[in-house]
Protein backbone atom coordinates (compact mmCIF):
# COMPACT_ATOMS: atom_id res chain seq x y z
CA UNK A 1 0.00 0.00 0.00
CA UNK A 2 2.80 2.42 0.94
CA UNK A 3 4.54 1.39 -2.24
CA UNK A 4 1.38 2.11 -4.21
CA UNK A 5 1.01 5.57 -2.66
CA UNK A 6 4.69 6.23 -3.20
CA UNK A 7 4.34 5.77 -6.99
CA UNK A 8 8.01 4.94 -7.45
CA UNK A 9 9.04 8.38 -6.22
CA UNK A 10 6.61 10.25 -8.44
CA UNK A 11 3.85 10.43 -5.83
CA UNK A 12 3.64 14.23 -5.83
CA UNK A 13 3.27 14.44 -9.59
CA UNK A 14 0.91 11.52 -10.09
CA UNK A 15 -1.43 12.26 -7.18
CA UNK A 16 -1.58 15.97 -7.85
CA UNK A 17 -2.69 15.20 -11.43
CA UNK A 18 -5.40 12.82 -10.26
CA UNK A 19 -6.50 15.22 -7.52
CA UNK A 20 -6.64 18.11 -9.94
CA UNK A 21 -8.67 16.06 -12.40
CA UNK A 22 -11.16 15.16 -9.69
CA UNK A 23 -11.48 18.80 -8.65
CA UNK A 24 -11.98 20.03 -12.22
CA UNK A 25 -14.51 17.30 -13.07
CA UNK A 26 -16.54 17.93 -9.91
CA UNK A 27 -16.30 21.70 -10.33
CA UNK A 28 -17.48 21.54 -13.92
CA UNK A 29 -20.43 19.39 -12.92
CA UNK A 30 -21.27 21.67 -10.02
CA UNK A 31 -21.08 24.90 -12.05
CA UNK A 32 -23.37 23.46 -14.73
CA UNK A 33 -25.83 22.24 -12.12
CA UNK A 34 -25.88 25.53 -10.26
CA UNK A 35 -26.48 27.44 -13.49
CA UNK A 36 -29.36 25.11 -14.38
CA UNK A 37 -30.92 25.46 -10.91
CA UNK A 38 -30.63 29.23 -11.30
CA UNK A 39 -32.37 29.21 -14.67
CA UNK A 40 -35.09 26.86 -13.46
CA UNK A 41 -35.73 29.11 -10.49
CA UNK A 42 -35.99 32.19 -12.70
CA UNK A 43 -38.27 30.45 -15.18
CA UNK A 44 -40.49 29.21 -12.36
CA UNK A 45 -40.78 32.74 -10.97
CA UNK A 46 -41.64 34.12 -14.39
CA UNK A 47 -44.29 31.44 -14.82
CA UNK A 48 -45.80 32.29 -11.46
CA UNK A 49 -45.84 35.99 -12.24
CA UNK A 50 -47.46 35.40 -15.62
CA UNK A 51 -50.17 33.12 -14.20
CA UNK A 52 -50.82 35.54 -11.36
CA UNK A 53 -51.15 38.57 -13.63
CA UNK A 54 -53.23 36.62 -16.16
CA UNK A 55 -52.17 35.69 -19.67
CA UNK A 56 -54.11 38.53 -21.33
CA UNK A 57 -51.97 41.32 -19.88
CA UNK A 58 -48.97 41.20 -22.16
CA UNK A 59 -47.44 44.48 -21.01
CA UNK A 60 -44.05 43.92 -19.38
CA UNK A 61 -45.02 44.48 -15.78
CA UNK A 62 -43.15 41.40 -14.62
CA UNK A 63 -40.52 41.80 -11.87
Amino acid sequence: MTEFLHMGGYAGYVWSCYGLTLVVLLGNLWFARRELDNQVLRATRRAQVSTASGSETTSGKAS
Binding site: G8, C17, T21, V24, L29, A32, L36, A43, Q48
Partner: protein
Protein backbone atom coordinates in the same frame (compact mmCIF):
# COMPACT_ATOMS: atom_id res chain seq x y z
CA UNK B 1 -35.32 8.89 -38.33
CA UNK B 2 -35.67 12.35 -39.84
CA UNK B 3 -38.89 12.87 -38.02
CA UNK B 4 -37.13 12.05 -34.75
CA UNK B 5 -34.42 14.50 -35.68
CA UNK B 6 -36.89 17.29 -36.26
CA UNK B 7 -38.58 16.47 -33.02
CA UNK B 8 -35.30 16.55 -31.13
CA UNK B 9 -34.49 19.97 -32.55
CA UNK B 10 -37.56 21.38 -30.85
CA UNK B 11 -36.57 23.03 -27.57
CA UNK B 12 -39.31 21.52 -25.34
CA UNK B 13 -38.54 18.00 -26.51
CA UNK B 14 -34.77 18.48 -26.22
CA UNK B 15 -35.22 19.93 -22.74
CA UNK B 16 -37.06 16.82 -21.57
CA UNK B 17 -34.76 14.35 -23.31
CA UNK B 18 -31.62 15.98 -21.89
CA UNK B 19 -33.08 15.81 -18.41
CA UNK B 20 -33.87 12.11 -18.76
CA UNK B 21 -30.51 11.18 -20.28
CA UNK B 22 -28.32 12.97 -17.77
CA UNK B 23 -28.41 10.50 -14.82
CA UNK B 24 -27.69 7.51 -17.09
CA UNK B 25 -24.75 9.27 -18.71
CA UNK B 26 -23.36 10.52 -15.41
CA UNK B 27 -23.56 7.22 -13.55
CA UNK B 28 -22.05 5.20 -16.38
CA UNK B 29 -19.27 7.80 -16.56
CA UNK B 30 -18.59 7.49 -12.81
CA UNK B 31 -18.50 3.69 -12.89
CA UNK B 32 -16.19 3.62 -15.91
CA UNK B 33 -13.90 6.24 -14.35
CA UNK B 34 -13.48 4.16 -11.21
CA UNK B 35 -12.76 1.03 -13.27
CA UNK B 36 -10.30 2.89 -15.51
CA UNK B 37 -8.54 4.56 -12.57
CA UNK B 38 -8.11 1.17 -10.91
CA UNK B 39 -6.78 -0.27 -14.15
CA UNK B 40 -4.42 2.64 -14.70
CA UNK B 41 -3.12 3.01 -11.17
CA UNK B 42 -3.03 -0.62 -10.01
CA UNK B 43 -3.21 -3.14 -12.85
CA UNK B 44 -1.09 -1.45 -15.52
CA UNK B 45 2.63 -2.21 -15.14
CA UNK B 46 5.06 0.71 -14.69
CA UNK B 47 6.52 2.07 -17.90
CA UNK B 48 10.06 0.92 -18.63
CA UNK B 49 11.27 4.49 -19.11
CA UNK B 50 8.92 6.72 -17.15
CA UNK B 51 8.20 4.23 -14.33
CA UNK B 52 5.08 5.20 -12.39
CA UNK B 53 5.00 8.78 -13.65
CA UNK B 54 3.46 7.54 -16.91
CA UNK B 55 0.21 6.89 -15.00
CA UNK B 56 -0.56 10.57 -15.49
CA UNK B 57 -1.46 9.53 -19.04
CA UNK B 58 -4.82 8.22 -17.79
CA UNK B 59 -6.03 11.70 -16.94
CA UNK B 60 -3.91 13.81 -19.28
CA UNK B 61 -4.71 12.13 -22.59
CA UNK B 62 -8.50 11.88 -22.07
CA UNK B 63 -8.57 15.57 -21.03
CA UNK B 64 -6.51 16.62 -24.05
CA UNK B 65 -8.59 14.49 -26.44
CA UNK B 66 -11.77 16.01 -25.05
CA UNK B 67 -10.42 19.54 -25.38
CA UNK B 68 -10.25 18.94 -29.14
CA UNK B 69 -13.37 16.77 -29.59
CA UNK B 70 -15.56 19.18 -27.64
CA UNK B 71 -14.35 21.97 -29.89
CA UNK B 72 -15.27 19.95 -32.98
CA UNK B 73 -18.75 19.35 -31.53
CA UNK B 74 -19.00 23.09 -30.80
CA UNK B 75 -17.95 24.11 -34.30
CA UNK B 76 -20.19 21.56 -36.05
CA UNK B 77 -23.16 22.66 -33.93
CA UNK B 78 -22.39 26.32 -34.67
CA UNK B 79 -22.13 25.49 -38.40
CA UNK B 80 -25.49 23.68 -38.36
CA UNK B 81 -26.97 26.65 -36.55
CA UNK B 82 -25.73 29.09 -39.16
CA UNK B 83 -26.62 27.01 -42.23
CA UNK B 84 -30.03 25.65 -41.24
CA UNK B 85 -30.86 28.34 -38.70
CA UNK B 86 -31.61 25.88 -35.95
CA UNK B 87 -31.77 27.63 -32.60
CA UNK B 88 -31.06 24.49 -30.66
CA UNK B 89 -27.77 23.96 -32.54
CA UNK B 90 -26.56 27.36 -31.36
CA UNK B 91 -27.62 26.44 -27.84
CA UNK B 92 -25.53 23.26 -28.06
CA UNK B 93 -22.52 25.22 -29.31
CA UNK B 94 -22.79 27.74 -26.49
CA UNK B 95 -23.23 24.91 -23.98
CA UNK B 96 -20.03 23.17 -25.16
CA UNK B 97 -17.70 26.13 -24.60
CA UNK B 98 -17.23 26.19 -20.81
CA UNK B 99 -16.92 22.41 -20.62
CA UNK B 100 -14.30 22.35 -23.37
CA UNK B 101 -12.40 25.19 -21.75
CA UNK B 102 -12.19 23.21 -18.50
CA UNK B 103 -10.89 20.14 -20.31
CA UNK B 104 -8.23 22.30 -21.96
CA UNK B 105 -7.16 23.78 -18.62
CA UNK B 106 -6.96 20.25 -17.23
CA UNK B 107 -4.89 19.02 -20.18
CA UNK B 108 -2.47 21.93 -19.84
CA UNK B 109 -2.18 21.59 -16.07
CA UNK B 110 -1.66 17.82 -15.97
CA UNK B 111 0.71 18.09 -18.92
CA UNK B 112 2.72 20.67 -17.05
CA UNK B 113 2.90 18.50 -13.93
CA UNK B 114 3.97 15.56 -16.09
CA UNK B 115 6.51 17.69 -17.92
CA UNK B 116 8.39 18.66 -14.79
CA UNK B 117 9.79 15.21 -13.88
CA UNK B 118 10.12 14.03 -17.50
CA UNK B 119 11.43 17.08 -19.33
CA UNK B 120 12.74 19.03 -16.37
CA UNK B 121 10.44 21.97 -17.07
CA UNK B 122 6.86 22.99 -16.31
CA UNK B 123 6.49 24.81 -19.60
CA UNK B 124 8.22 25.05 -22.94
CA UNK B 125 7.15 27.03 -26.01
CA UNK B 126 6.85 23.82 -27.89
CA UNK B 127 4.46 23.35 -30.87
CA UNK B 128 2.12 20.97 -29.03
CA UNK B 129 2.01 23.03 -25.85
CA UNK B 130 1.66 26.35 -27.64
CA UNK B 131 -1.12 25.16 -29.94
CA UNK B 132 -3.00 23.69 -26.97
CA UNK B 133 -2.69 27.05 -25.21
CA UNK B 134 -4.15 28.68 -28.33
CA UNK B 135 -6.98 26.17 -28.05
CA UNK B 136 -7.74 27.51 -24.58
CA UNK B 137 -7.74 31.07 -25.91
CA UNK B 138 -10.16 30.01 -28.65
CA UNK B 139 -12.61 28.77 -26.05
CA UNK B 140 -12.18 31.90 -23.93
CA UNK B 141 -12.47 34.14 -27.00
CA UNK B 142 -15.63 32.35 -28.07
CA UNK B 143 -17.21 32.85 -24.64
CA UNK B 144 -16.07 36.48 -24.41
CA UNK B 145 -17.48 37.22 -27.86
CA UNK B 146 -20.82 35.65 -26.95
CA UNK B 147 -21.12 37.64 -23.76
CA UNK B 148 -20.32 40.90 -25.56
CA UNK B 149 -23.71 40.80 -27.34
CA UNK B 150 -27.01 41.48 -25.65
CA UNK B 151 -28.92 40.01 -28.53
CA UNK B 152 -28.76 36.22 -28.54
CA UNK B 153 -29.20 35.87 -32.30
CA UNK B 154 -26.36 38.21 -33.09
CA UNK B 155 -24.19 36.52 -30.47
CA UNK B 156 -25.00 33.17 -32.09
CA UNK B 157 -24.01 34.25 -35.57
CA UNK B 158 -20.85 36.15 -34.66
CA UNK B 159 -19.55 33.49 -32.31
CA UNK B 160 -20.37 30.75 -34.84
CA UNK B 161 -18.03 32.36 -37.35
CA UNK B 162 -15.23 32.48 -34.78
CA UNK B 163 -15.92 28.86 -33.84
CA UNK B 164 -15.79 27.67 -37.45
CA UNK B 165 -12.61 29.58 -38.29
CA UNK B 166 -11.01 28.35 -35.06
CA UNK B 167 -11.41 24.74 -36.14
CA UNK B 168 -8.14 25.03 -38.12
CA UNK B 169 -6.33 24.84 -34.80
CA UNK B 170 -7.63 21.33 -34.09
CA UNK B 171 -5.47 19.50 -36.68
CA UNK B 172 -2.57 21.76 -35.74
CA UNK B 173 -2.74 20.53 -32.13
CA UNK B 174 -3.32 16.94 -33.17
CA UNK B 175 -0.49 16.66 -35.68
CA UNK B 176 1.92 19.12 -34.07
CA UNK B 177 3.98 16.24 -32.66
CA UNK B 178 4.34 14.78 -36.16
CA UNK B 179 4.77 17.94 -38.24
CA UNK B 180 7.34 19.61 -36.04
CA UNK B 181 10.14 18.40 -33.90
CA UNK B 182 8.34 18.47 -30.58
CA UNK B 183 9.43 17.79 -27.05
CA UNK B 184 6.07 16.14 -26.53
CA UNK B 185 5.96 12.40 -27.14
CA UNK B 186 4.21 11.01 -30.21
CA UNK B 187 0.81 9.32 -30.22
CA UNK B 188 0.50 6.05 -28.31
CA UNK B 189 -2.80 4.72 -29.53
CA UNK B 190 -3.65 6.35 -32.85
CA UNK B 191 -1.72 3.70 -34.75
CA UNK B 192 -4.74 1.46 -35.08
CA UNK B 193 -3.91 -2.20 -35.31
CA UNK B 194 -0.48 -1.73 -33.83
CA UNK B 195 -0.69 0.57 -30.81
CA UNK B 196 2.67 1.16 -29.24
CA UNK B 197 1.59 0.26 -25.70
CA UNK B 198 0.69 -3.07 -24.13
CA UNK B 199 -2.95 -4.06 -23.63
CA UNK B 200 -2.75 -3.78 -19.81
CA UNK B 201 -1.81 -0.14 -20.30
CA UNK B 202 -4.18 0.43 -23.19
CA UNK B 203 -7.58 -0.69 -21.90
CA UNK B 204 -7.63 1.64 -18.88
CA UNK B 205 -6.80 4.53 -21.22
CA UNK B 206 -9.56 3.71 -23.68
CA UNK B 207 -12.01 3.16 -20.82
CA UNK B 208 -11.08 6.50 -19.29
CA UNK B 209 -11.57 8.21 -22.65
CA UNK B 210 -15.03 6.68 -22.96
CA UNK B 211 -15.80 7.74 -19.38
CA UNK B 212 -14.74 11.32 -20.16
CA UNK B 213 -17.03 11.35 -23.22
CA UNK B 214 -19.99 10.18 -21.14
CA UNK B 215 -19.15 12.71 -18.46
CA UNK B 216 -19.04 15.44 -21.11
CA UNK B 217 -22.43 14.35 -22.42
CA UNK B 218 -23.87 14.44 -18.90
CA UNK B 219 -22.61 17.96 -18.18
CA UNK B 220 -23.68 19.03 -21.66
CA UNK B 221 -27.26 17.95 -20.83
CA UNK B 222 -27.34 20.38 -17.90
CA UNK B 223 -25.75 23.18 -19.89
CA UNK B 224 -28.09 22.69 -22.87
CA UNK B 225 -31.08 22.83 -20.55
CA UNK B 226 -29.81 26.11 -19.06
CA UNK B 227 -29.31 27.52 -22.55
CA UNK B 228 -32.83 26.49 -23.58
CA UNK B 229 -34.30 28.14 -20.49
CA UNK B 230 -32.40 31.35 -21.21
CA UNK B 231 -33.45 31.44 -24.85
CA UNK B 232 -37.05 30.38 -24.49
CA UNK B 233 -37.84 32.66 -21.62
CA UNK B 234 -40.97 34.00 -23.31
CA UNK B 235 -42.18 30.77 -24.86
CA UNK B 236 -45.56 29.54 -23.74
CA UNK B 237 -44.50 25.88 -23.40
CA UNK B 238 -41.99 26.96 -20.82
CA UNK B 239 -44.37 28.82 -18.57
CA UNK B 240 -46.66 25.80 -18.85
CA UNK B 241 -43.93 23.41 -17.72
CA UNK B 242 -42.74 25.72 -14.97
CA UNK B 243 -46.14 26.50 -13.48
CA UNK B 244 -46.93 22.77 -13.26
CA UNK B 245 -43.57 22.29 -11.54
CA UNK B 246 -44.34 25.10 -9.15
CA UNK B 247 -47.78 23.66 -8.47
CA UNK B 248 -46.26 20.24 -7.72
CA UNK B 249 -43.63 21.66 -5.43
Amino acid sequence: MWLWFYKLASPPYAYTVAGKLRPWLLWSAIVLMIVAAYGGLVIAPPDYQQKDAFRIIYVHVPAATMSLSVYVVLAVAAGIGVIWRIKLAHAVAAACAPIGAWFTVLALATGSIWGKPMWGTWWEWDPRLTSELIQLFLYLGYMALRSSFDDTQRADRASAILAIVGVVNVPVVKYSVIWWNSLHQGPSISKLGAPSITSDMLWPLLTMMLAFMLYFAAVLCDRIRSEILKRERNASWLSGVMSTRAAEA
